[in-house]
């Protein structure tokens, strides 16, 4: 194992008393002295600041970068308006998912945010498939997420302009004198902003945001329970090379123009299989939400059974949902067991715990749509 990397906020995390753990090659704060549960609750009721600088921020330039990226993702990128962000998936020829990412149309370029653990692989994948004339640049920038129902109030004091953005809009702004790229998005199910900032300005901006009364620093532990309650996938757990976008319930990430009969149908790795699944809906398993009845958390890897005792699936993410007040999980089950309200059983330490297939998200999203 090579030495762990540090984000531009490393010294600040240490100063704040964070518990640091290795994550995707970085030394990252899993929690601060507040603790995972309170950090989770604070984000749901007030405002949390997350360091997500470990994620890969890329700029793709060259002739028609949107058309070039569409050769690798099933999303509608050509139709993405300037200043808008969209969720996308890198697929492989077998119809599996190589990574999930955010794509911003920056006018003459695309700005991509990819998972930290997939960063090197994504860059190699992009470079292998891009034609001459395209340039890919890995940015040395910090990335902060300001999330929660009070995020907009905080932002209004420092950058009123950013508050004019609605969900999934993106703009270049100045926050209290610091140049930043801001999108109205996040990974918690709450309203909020993701803020890209020069590495050298990251700590200044983070301190400025933390100085606001509503804001607490939040670690990766709460980030995971927040995104789980919001029904959002974690790459490498809920989606991977063995799951297709259709099985994962991510059909919405396949743009209408990219589907069969669309004006730019197919043209991405695995298109034949994926588009056939979109049309025929003959996939055998599906990602679902699962709500526990007792208090025992049902974690990743727990096997799922039906009432007859037949194995029907597996949990891919799970834990106790502090805002739901119950164990929450997501996993893959056979189509027959995937309808909401179906009762299934999760095996935990030799016991079969009842769970109910539930619609996701488990909490009401706070996304600001104007």
């Amino acid at each position: 194992m090579s030495q762990l990397e540090k984000t531009p906020l490393y010294d600040l995390h240490v100063e704040l008393g964070a518990k640091l753990v290795p994550f995707a090659g970085y030394e990252m704060p899993v929690q601060y002295p507040l603790g995972v549960k309170k950090e989770h609750e604070h984000t749901r009721t007030a405002c949390g600041l997350f360091d997500v600088s470990h994620m890969g921020q890329l700029i793709l330039r060259g002739p028609d970068p949107a058309a070039a990226l569409e050769a690798l993702v099933p999303a509608d990128i050509v139709g993405l308006p300037k200043g808008m962000q969209r969720y996308a998936l890198f697929t492989n020829p077998e119809g599996g998912i190589l990574d999930d990412l955010m794509v911003v149309n920056g006018g003459d370029h695309l700005y991509l945010v990819v998972n930290a653990a997939c960063k090197a692989q994504d860059i190699a994948h992009l470079e292998a498939h891009l034609t001459a004339g395209h340039r890919l640049e890995l940015l040395d920038r910090g990335l902060l997420a300001l999330q929660g129902p009070q995020a907009a109030e905080v932002m209004r004091r420092l950058c009123p302009e950013a508050c004019e953005l609605v969900f999934m809009q993106h703009a270049r702004v100045t926050i209290d004198g610091v140049e930043a790229w801001v999108s109205r998005s996040g990974y918690t199910g709450e309203d909020g902003f993701e803020i890209s900032v020069a590495a050298a300005d990251s700590e200044t901006l983070a301190r400025r945001l933390l100085a606001e009364a509503e804001v607490e620093a939040i670690g990766l532990g709460a980030r995971d329970s927040l995104r789980l309650e919001a029904g959002l996938c974690l790459y490498g757990h809920d989606i991977d090379t063995a799951t297709t976008p259709v099985e994962a319930g991510l059909i919405w990430a396949i743009g209408k123009p990219r589907r069969l009969g669309g004006e730019r149908a197919g043209g991405f790795p695995g298109a034949e299989l994926i588009l056939q699944q979109v049309q025929d809906k003959d996939h055998r398993r599906k990602r679902v939400g699962l709500l526990g009845e007792g208090r025992a958390p049902v974690r990743e890897g727990a096997e799922l059974y039906n009432a007859e005792g037949e194995r029907i699936g597996v949990v891919t993410s799970g834990g106790f949902g502090p805002s739901v007040g119950k164990p929450v999980a997501m996993g893959y089950v056979s189509i027959e067991a995937s309808a909401p309200e179906t009762q299934v059983f999760a095996e935990v330490r030799g016991k079969r715990l009842p769970m109910t297939v539930s619609k996701m998200p488990f909490v009401t999203p706070g996304y600001y749509r104007g």
Partner: protein, 129 residues
Amino acid sequence: MSNIPANLRYTESHEWVLDNGDGTVTLGITDHAQEALGDVVFVELPEVGRSLDAGEEFGVIESVKAASDLYAPLAGEVIEANEALEDAPETVNEAPYEGGWIAKLKLADAAALEGLLDAEAYAKLADAE
């Protein structure tokens, strides 16, 4: 620094044991252990009447982060389990030596208590982690 009361005995697996003086003990997990675990969300309690060997797994504490096994500090029979933890598992964090107790045992051999760590020895162990 974590709280390590002088009147208790301890195990290397971070349980505390209170000698009730009548051949029974009350046990739980230490302040150091609850701090390392983080927010406790579920405690799987042992069944009353169950007979335990020293070192035997008898329950599980689940925190927001992970599941952690509980080990019997001494051989004995479970005579009571703290059912209040079913609804309020966070008591293990808030009051690990009081409301957060986990079970009471009737010891097979009361003299075995002497084999556990005292507060000073446990403090050294906790410090070294």
